[in-house]
Symmetry: C2
Subunit: 394 residues, 2 copies
């Protein structure tokens, strides 16, 4: 197979000053932090080239009027309409530098210290931090394997927490399991939020990366009643591979919700994304889809290769192919590893995964695998994994 135009070869990747490739030594193949080993979409490069070529580094003002931030809100609204048929008022959009900022700010605004935040585990580590660092209480619910997928037990969920539970911190598509919650699941969670007066903080940053057979639904799009209590947080930085540019958006379902937020967190405490992040995001959302239409099938091929390899060579690893994202959860509890799974693979396979215990403190025998790399590098990672596991079993 011919390489895809966006594949980056190993010698280029090895020279990078990004966390993924630079943190570990040259003996390690990195499959951890959530960025892709791919070059970025042409419309984004062109937007950045224009800024740089013309030295447009002043206070931004876009043609047609308005600050850079307004341009971002408009592009968010166009993207939501085009991708999800969701009509959004740009006036309800708050620019962010990143998703973690939005999560912390929303937890802070919509709860008090000691209040409970419902979170499905395993979960992206900064969500744990947003609960712990602000003195909130983790109301955890485990996503459990039924042998073919990770199941959200809605009946169990209704029993989680108590009257002090104030927030449902939803991650959809879910990181690290790759679950895409269905309309029925989302409706059930929305109804729970209404019944128990929760605010929903919905991280939808992976919604650009959904595989055939699944569809992303913004939970706020389901009904005005759900929207009225939902803060949707997203960013082009994940799907379009520009995390270092730091730009995201936070959408409030109603003006009342936005005002309740800003009464606690003045907008200017959040700062503002830089012009390069803003223009790159607008280009991504308005013009980046053709690139994504090539990247997602490539990721899908990696996903299928990974699934087939694990089934054939490493059947002891509990694994369900993700429905979205280039991330997946490998539960290695049955492998009899001598220590933490991430340490094992780093030392014995020379592959760096994200450690499971950062996502679920109770499971240090799991890792999160980022398979957004070129097919040849994926093969090397898989080969090293299998060899390490086999040598451990001998």
């Amino acid at each position: 197979m011919r390489p895809a135009s966006f594949e980056l070869p190993m010698d280029v990747l090895r020279t990078r000053q990004n966390a993924k490739w630079a943190r570990f030594g040259p003996e390690i193949l990195p499959a951890w932090v959530a960025e892709m080993d791919f070059s970025i979409a042409y419309p984004i490069r062109r937007a950045i080239d224009r800024l740089v070529g013309e030295q447009e580094f002043g206070y931004p003002f876009r043609a047609g009027g308005g600050h850079g931030d307004d341009g971002l809100a408009g592009a968010f609204a166009r993207r939501m309409r085009a991708r999800f048929g969701w009509e959004v008022d740009p006036a309800l959009v708050q620019p962010l530098s990143d998703l973690v900022q939005g999560t912390f700010a929303a937890v802070w605004a919509f709860s008090e210290p000691g209040d409970g935040v419902l979170l499905h585990l395993p979960a992206y580590p900064p969500f744990h931090a947003a609960i712990h660092d602000t003195g909130r209480r983790l109301d955890a619910q485990q996503l459990r394997s039924d042998g073919s997928t990770y199941v959200l037990d809605l009946d169990e969920m209704r029993g989680i927490g108590d009257a002090r539970t104030r927030i449902l911190m939803l991650c959809n598509p879910q990181n690290p399991t790759g679950r895409v919650f269905t309309r029925d699941e989302l409706l059930a969670m929305g109804q729970m939020a209404i019944a128990r007066d929760w605010i929903i903080i919905s991280d939808e940053i992976h919604s650009d990366l959904v595989y055939d057979g699944h569809a992303h639904i913004p939970i706020a799009s389901l009904s005005p009643e759900i929207a009225a209590r939902t803060v949707t947080i997203t960013s082009a930085t994940k799907g379009f591979n520009i995390p270092g540019l730091r730009c995201g958006a936070m959408h409030f379902g109603t003006a009342a919700l936005r005002e309740r937020f800003h009464a606690r967190v003045p907008s200017r405490v959040l700062g503002a994304p830089g012009i390069v992040g803003i223009e790159a995001t607008i280009a991504a959302w308005d013009q980046g889809q053709p690139w994504l239409d090539e990247v997602v099938p490539y990721l899908d091929a990696n996903r299928q290769r990974l699934a087939a390899f694990l089934k054939a060579e490493l059947p002891g690893i509990r694994f369900h192919a993700p429905e979205a994202t280039y991330l997946c959860w490998l539960d290695c509890s049955d492998l009899g590893l001598p220590g933490k799974a991430a340490d094992f693979f780093q030392e014995r396979a020379r592959v760096a995964f994200s450690p499971g215990e950062a996502f679920d403190p109770a499971n240090d025998r799991a890792v999160r695998f980022n398979f957004a790399t070129s097919a040849p590098i994926l093969e090397r990672i898989l080969g090293r994994m299998a060899e390490a596991v086999r040598s451990n079993m001998r």
Copy 2:
């Protein structure tokens, strides 16, 4: 005189998508928002070109270890030592997206609604907003002209506010008067802060742009006792003309002060600057001084031309040449203008200044003049001003 290498001609400026040139129509010459009509320093361009050329848009990781943020803190410490002989611990630096964010966050962290914030007027409009929008009380003190400069009356200052005054919001060099506070003034303010248990929020963003005969002194550098209650906020974006890139730094005088801040404002609520802003700032602070060494004398020549012109042609405008910054305060109270000074100059001179009332609600007969443009454009602005004032007097 030959044009300076960094001058940008009018036809280039007119095509820009920045607020300064794009907000008003082509009939207007802009002398308002604080950016310079100059191209940026070569080391900054080179740093940005490298990022863009190599598509370094991942999660940053600098050679030698550490995240981008750590690189920023180190560059801040090197800059403070090199320019001001001030030894700073990089661990006490919090990255910001902009100065306004830092100001809001510090007001929020170190005072309660209803508490007083001492501010010298006229003052940069976001400082008013940081007090008003957070429900704090403005304890204002006027900087008054003594006929040759704007005077800070320290005896009067000792009588401002009451026991609920919690913060001195200092701007040094001062925007919009261009005052550079002397060591004696700063010491006196520092002693007041100790005696009355104030936190000092010191905006020092204009400290790169100080004219001969004056010297910037970071107030936190004066003594450990003053540092222990001082938050210093600065950025390369002003002196190096890259405001759209959004990157700044906030320094806490002690670890205890930093912890007191973070107990109220978790670091991640502040987000993080993008990689382009970070790398541009590091290049500016580490390698940008030769560019600044050419720009400041150019601004000084503009400043002297402006002073001579006003004295000769517009003696009715009360004006004192700034000691720093490319900004100055024109008090037009004696001109007998028919309305607000900014409106008058925009309509009659087709020059856009920043309106005085945004800096001092009691003075709509003043404007802030940004003279950071090329000498030919400055001449056109001055000519238009003089003609408008003369035609008003006829």
